[in-house]
Each structure stands twice: as structure tokens, then as C-alpha cells.
Amino acid sequence: MTVNLIRKFVFRPGTYAWALLLAAIPGVHAADGPYFVTYGHDMEEPGSLEISASQVAGHPDGGHRFVNALTEFEYGLKGWWTTEVYLHGQTTAHDSTVFTGYRWENRFRLLPREHWINPVLYVEFENVNGADRSLLEVVGFDGQEDFLESNAEGRGEKERELEAKLILGSHFRGWNISENFIAEKNLAHAPFEFGYAVGVSRPLASAARPERCRVCPENFQAGIELYGGLGTHEHFGSVADTAHYLAPVVAWQLPNGASLQISPAFGLTGSSVPFLLRFGVSYEVAQFGRVVSRMFR
């Protein structure tokens, strides 16, 4: 099943065509790390807009293969405040392709200087339907059984949720260590759901080479992330009925400013989708705010 997923997703030329197009455009650098789920404490540069597109593909036991697509627009409002909007959609084999909703997140850096551990407060409003397969976070008792219903059934379920994260991040001797503690609440009904994400990564070289290079260690970051659900406020900390994933991550930062990321994720429990494959491309437009404001002068 894993091999079939790789064959159908990774080795399809169309998957990479638009990514290669982005990689060919001259621009400025995209600063984010390699994680797909874990947040670090680094904020978007003020005035810069980062555009990202990512997919997650999976095949739940007893269900159909799916590919969920996310488009992100991340903007640095202040040095301590980053805001981001996501648009969600997914396609499921033998079913349909649907738009599944949006989310709006804000991150606030709480301390003005760098410390051993740096806290960031994350607040998000999510308006998605039950067909969503983004797996941007795993909370409560979320599991692969949620992905067995048809898109028609899932679209009828409205999920408006508020989510808060405490993000803790550290940079130490080239290593990044990030921890996220997640609490989520569906506005329509109880209970509070909890989850976590932890990531460790580092660039493959500390010092840069003097010459421009594309495929050189300084342009690559590698690491691993672990994320999963922690149950609800009524049943907290259960591992057996919650989904958990262990995911190596690799990011390649191109000199023209685009960044490519890939991460295979392995489900660790019976509730987890056995295997997920994530792929992402991001591109930062520096000083986007200034460019736009000049257009209206």
C-alpha cells in the first residue's frame, strides 16, 4: 500500500511541474523550517508574504486514497505578530474533489529577545467541514476512521473550531527544537480536545560556501517530528485510541527563494493512517507590504 501511494503520488510528473515552475522564478528566500505540523518560534519577517502549497496523501485502512491540498498565505504584520490564512481542499479516489474550508491563524511572539526557550502564542479560527483531510494537527481522538465517510457525508458536517497552541522553540548550536501544546474546541459542542507536536531539525552545514550553489549541504535542513492526539478533557492522555505519527522531514532551500519540503509520516497506532506522504513548496515575497502600499499612492 505504501509503495502504491508513492508510485501514484511521488512519481507523477504533474506533482512537480508547478513546483519546478516556482523554483525557476527569481525571488527572495523562504525562511521557514522543514516541519509540516510542528510550529517553531520564528516569525515571518514584517511586510513579507510567504505563499505555500502543500499536499498530504494517505490511504486509511478500509477507505479510499486521498490527497488533501492546502494553500497558505502567511504575512508578517509586525516583528512579533504573524497572520496566516489557509484554504483547504481534497480529492478522494472513487469519490470526488471538494473544497473543505479555511482557517485563519495568528501567532504572537511573547518575549522581545531570544532566550533558551522562546514562547509564542498561537490562536486560530477554523471553518472546515467533515471532509477535511489536512491533518495539520491531530487532537483528541482524531483517527483514520474519520476518513471513511464519503465526501458528500463529510461536507454536511460543519466544524467551526477555535484552537490555541503554546509554541516553545529553541535554537541551540544549529539545532532547532520545537514543542507545541494544542487545545481545540468545537464551537458547537463539547469537549475540549488536546494534542501535541514536537520537532527537531538542523541544517546539514553550519557555515555557508562562498560560491552560489543549489545542491549543497547548507541549503538542506533535515529533522524529525512527532505529533498526535492526547484525548479530551474527560479522557486525557489515552494513547491506545489516539493517532500518533513519526515523520522524518527534509527541506531544500533554493537560491532563488523557493523552498521544497517532503515528509513521509508513519502511523504509530491502530487509529493512525498507516502512512502519509507530505510535499510542500513555499515562496517568500519580501517587502510585499511596501510594494502594495506604493501601488496605492
Binding site: V28, H29, A31, G33, G40, D42, M43, E45, P46, G47, S48, G76, K78, G79, W80, R109, P112, R113, E114, H171, R173, G174, N176, P203, A205, S206, A207, A208, R209, P210, E211, R212, E218, P255, A286, Q287, R290
Partner: protein
């Protein structure tokens, strides 16, 4: 007096806020031409959008070829790169490995040393650009 102290703290430049311990750190790449060239590449990638390709500012961020930067201790520059100045819009660059931050500082030190050696900044800026990696053999 307490209010004056608060105002005084916030009116100081980022370089002035670096502590004594930070200031005393030497740049392990000072005078290393390979590191300076690498620093030029990193500067273009991470800093030029705000500080200008020639590091002379672009109206949003201050120039980095200046008596203040040229006279700053390498450790103070490293402190600024690590912490940024979030209130004024400069992000923290702690995500960059320490070696890359020192390479950027080596490049800034070279820029300022060359900038103080001549009386004609525009010509000097052109000469300094020749240190960039695109002109490397």
C-alpha cells in the same frame, strides 16, 4: 527616574542594548576572505531586501555601512542578529547557524573597513559588490 530609565532603555539602538558579555565575543572569521564572500552571499539572501544590496539602507532599514556599525564590537553585531529588534521590524536571525551569522558579520566588517578607507561611497559600493559570489572565479 524609573520612567526615564524605561525611556532610555527603549531609545537605545539595538547595538547599544547588547550586553558587555556579548560584546566581548570575537568573530572567528574576521579577516577570512572566504568567509567574507560567503557572508556577502548570505547578506544578499537575508538582509539586502531591507538594508539594500549595498548595505546603505533603503528607507525602511538603516544603513549598515556607518560609523556606528563600523565601530561596533563583533559580539554586539552578533547579539543583534540573534535577537533582532522586533519592535522596529527586524526579525531574529537565531534560526541561522552561528557560523553563518559570523560570516555575515565578517562581510559587514569588510564593507565598513572599505567604506571608511575611501571618500566616495558610490564608487566604493561598486567595488564592494565585486566581492560578491557572482564575481567569484
Amino acid at each position: 527616574m524609573a520612567q526615564t530609565a524605561v525611556l532610555s532603555r527603549h531609545s537605545r539602538s539595538p547595538l547599544e542594548r547588547a550586553g558587555a558579555v556579548s560584546r566581548s565575543e570575537p568573530n572567528p572569521y574576521q579577516g577570512n576572505r572566504e568567509a567574507e564572500r560567503a557572508g556577502a552571499k548570505l547578506f544578499r539572501r537575508y538582509c539586502a531586501a531591507c538594508h539594500g544590496e549595498d548595505a546603505r539602507g533603503n528607507g525602511k532599514a538603516p544603513p549598515l555601512v556607518s560609523p556606528e556599525v563600523g565601530g561596533a564590537m563583533p559580539g554586539a553585531l552578533f547579539w543583534v542578529l540573534r535577537n533582532g529588534s522586533l519592535a522596529s521590524g527586524m526579525p531574529s536571525f537565531s534560526r541561522l547557524p552561528e557560523a553563518q551569522r559570523w560570516q555575515i558579520i565578517a562581510w559587514l566588517q569588510r564593507l565598513n573597513a572599505a567604506g571608511s578607507a575611501t571618500a566616495s561611497p558610490p564608487e566604493n559600493a561598486g567595488a564592494l559588490r565585486s566581492w560578491g559570489p557572482e564575481h567569484a572565479p
